[in-house]
Symmetry: C2
Subunit: 363 residues, 2 copies
């Protein structure tokens, strides 16, 4: 197993993708992931390698040696695959690491993506890609210079209900798309989490859960917004919201005339995508959670529940992990590359500006 | 039966209201309605008098004598109760008419409300109350001068699901209210209807069906908005939308920090009210149609379907008609008086201004 790709495995991988062959005569090469940041979400990702076809975990990066050692044993990572933040750059010498998956607080995404690219590794970076569009541009440039792939962890794009909703929307099943509504929020209870500290998060509910609403409006319409109008409601006396926003509602105007109405907050729970077209509607609720998605189509209500065809992998997490591996093996761009993350940050910056200035902001 | 109210019937009526007495020894006095404008919606209202306890139809006003004669026979209105628009003011002499119900194109609401008040009649006026806030103020002043009641035809306030949703929201069943979403639209197919002619309608989807979304945001929060931010999407090449808007999306900010996200359009169908509080949610769909309302409460989804207690009358239409009669009999203000209609028009004007100027408009 090497860090470089030989032509045979590339061709075999591509053939498997193209033909959907259930098994290859030779076991398919699995690319090795280094997980950077062993927080709660990493704890959800690590068991998912067992569901992957072309991905495995080969390294862990953490400031907590005891935790890294424990998780390394649990997930079969060798002692030599354990790094901390001071030794991270030596990962360049680890030929079992093809991809660095950055699951750190948002403010650290840019730094670790750029260091990973300099170490010659491909990068999976959690959403939001960074805390500013300028950082996203630096990350894209760094990966391009190193000739490495960069993908953002938009797992919903590998979730069967969302994939089927996109397919239905594009097929014209709802007629001409006029409106997409997406609301994403939950009750953030612990005031001490890094997500409530602007220095580390870059923003509140929008940077965390609201980005799903933004993404949904883009992938359901298949269009890029030309303007946003946003309104914020945050109780600054609430200790959770000293530096970041609670609630943001915003509209986005698309070139076709379609409109999106989105909302996010940290003070009540919702998770929904709704599309209204001239001929009908598509609705998902919950839409983008870790599991339990439901979906309906109809004329005026939830007339028919839709069970989508199974996704490419048994879970959205495995689908996401394997997608980057397959893109590397076949030398293709991920469907959610750095450009996608950059576009969301550009829009996020426009949403914040619109709310701050009380005016429509063009993109 | 006279057009004036003697003390006995007033007291008897009030007692019946208070005690919910199923029947009085004497038949309860029914106030007489004149229906002005025999269009489609009048055709829906007229059969509803059969469901009323304190209201009956005693006159019809139409430019179409044949239709008026036919409908008069059908609904038991005497020949002497038929008027046209030139003879309308003679209704002052008709002691069987207590209330004039204006179901005309929006641009005629002010004129006929004021003429009805001058004729000494109470007024029920369809929504939107008028085409401008200034007209609403004139209508309120005219009815006040004549010492007559003025009510706006907000039938959903008499619809059991909506009444129960309001009660639940106020009772704190969903916790602190953070967000109300309401979407109201339908596909307007006929380009020749008066609703698509700004001179008669005063505006498009917002004046017609969007006002339900606006009303819902106000009665679900129980608050008055302090600012609106609106965005419009209208294809002006579409022959239906030469003078009025198709789609409007807007947010409203309330003093408590609650936010409303509303939308209306003439190019796709939706009819929904959704409330998110810190402890749960309330949802209605369809919310404000003529019939078929459904309602749910829950934590993250439609966990429990709610069957509301029955309303004061067998239908929302009868509830609306009888409410004004009862308010006249008991000398109370209707829950949806002219002030309510004026407030909606003030907000509607702010919504149009916000969309036009691309900025947040304070109220």
């Amino acid at each position: 197993m090497t860090g470089t790709i030989d032509r045979r495995s590339l061709v075999a991988g591509a053939a498997a993708l193209t033909l959907g062959a259930p098994a290859l005569a030779q076991p398919r090469r699995k690319l090795g992931y280094a997980i950077v940041g062993l927080g709660g979400y990493a704890g959800r990702i690590l068991p998912e390698f067992a569901n992957c076809s072309t991905s495995r975990v080969t390294a862990l990066v953490s400031g907590d040696r005891a935790k890294a050692t424990e998780w390394a044993r649990k997930y079969g990572v060798p002692e030599s695959g354990i790094y901390d933040y001071t030794t991270f750059d030596r990962i360049a010498d680890n030929k079992d690491v093809d991809i660095v998956y950055v699951i750190l607080p948002n403010s650290m995404h840019a730094e670790y993506t750029i260091r990973a690219a300099k170490a010659g590794k491909h990068v999976m970076c959690e959403k939001p890609m960074a805390v500013s569009a300028a950082e996203c541009e630096q990350m894209i440039a760094a990966c391009a210079r190193a000739n490495r792939k960069l993908m953002i962890g938009y797992r919903s794009r590998f979730q069967p209900h969302n994939m089927e909703a996109i397919r239905l929307a594009r097929s014209g099943a709802a007629g001409k798309i006029r409106y997409v509504r997406s609301e994403h929020g939950f009750v953030m209870r612990d005031p001490s989490v890094w997500r409530l500290d602007r220095a580390r998060s870059g923003g509140g509910s929008l940077m965390d859960i609201g980005i799903y609403a933004l993404q949904a409006a883009r992938y359901m319409t298949g269009e890029e917004p030309v303007a946003v109008s946003a309104t914020e409601s945050t109780d600054r006396r609430d200790p959770r919201f000293r530096t970041v926003e609670d609630l943001l509602a915003w509209t986005m105007e698309f070139p076709s005339g379609a409109m999106a109405g989105c909302q996010t907050m940290y003070s009540a729970s919702q998770n929904r995508i709704f599309l209204a077209g001239t001929e009908g509607r598509i609705e998902l609720e919950p839409a983008t959670g870790y599991e339990g998605q439901k979906m309906w189509t109809g004329k005026n209500g939830r007339d028919r529940e839709v069970t989508p065809p199974p996704g490419p992998r048994s879970t959205q997490f495995a689908g996401q992990l394997d997608h980057l591996s397959e893109c590397i093996l076949a030398d293709r761009e991920p469907i959610v590359s750095g450009k996608e993350g950059l576009q969301d940050l550009r829009i996020i910056e426009a949403i914040y500006r619109s709310a701050r200035e009380g005016r429509r902001v063009t993109l």
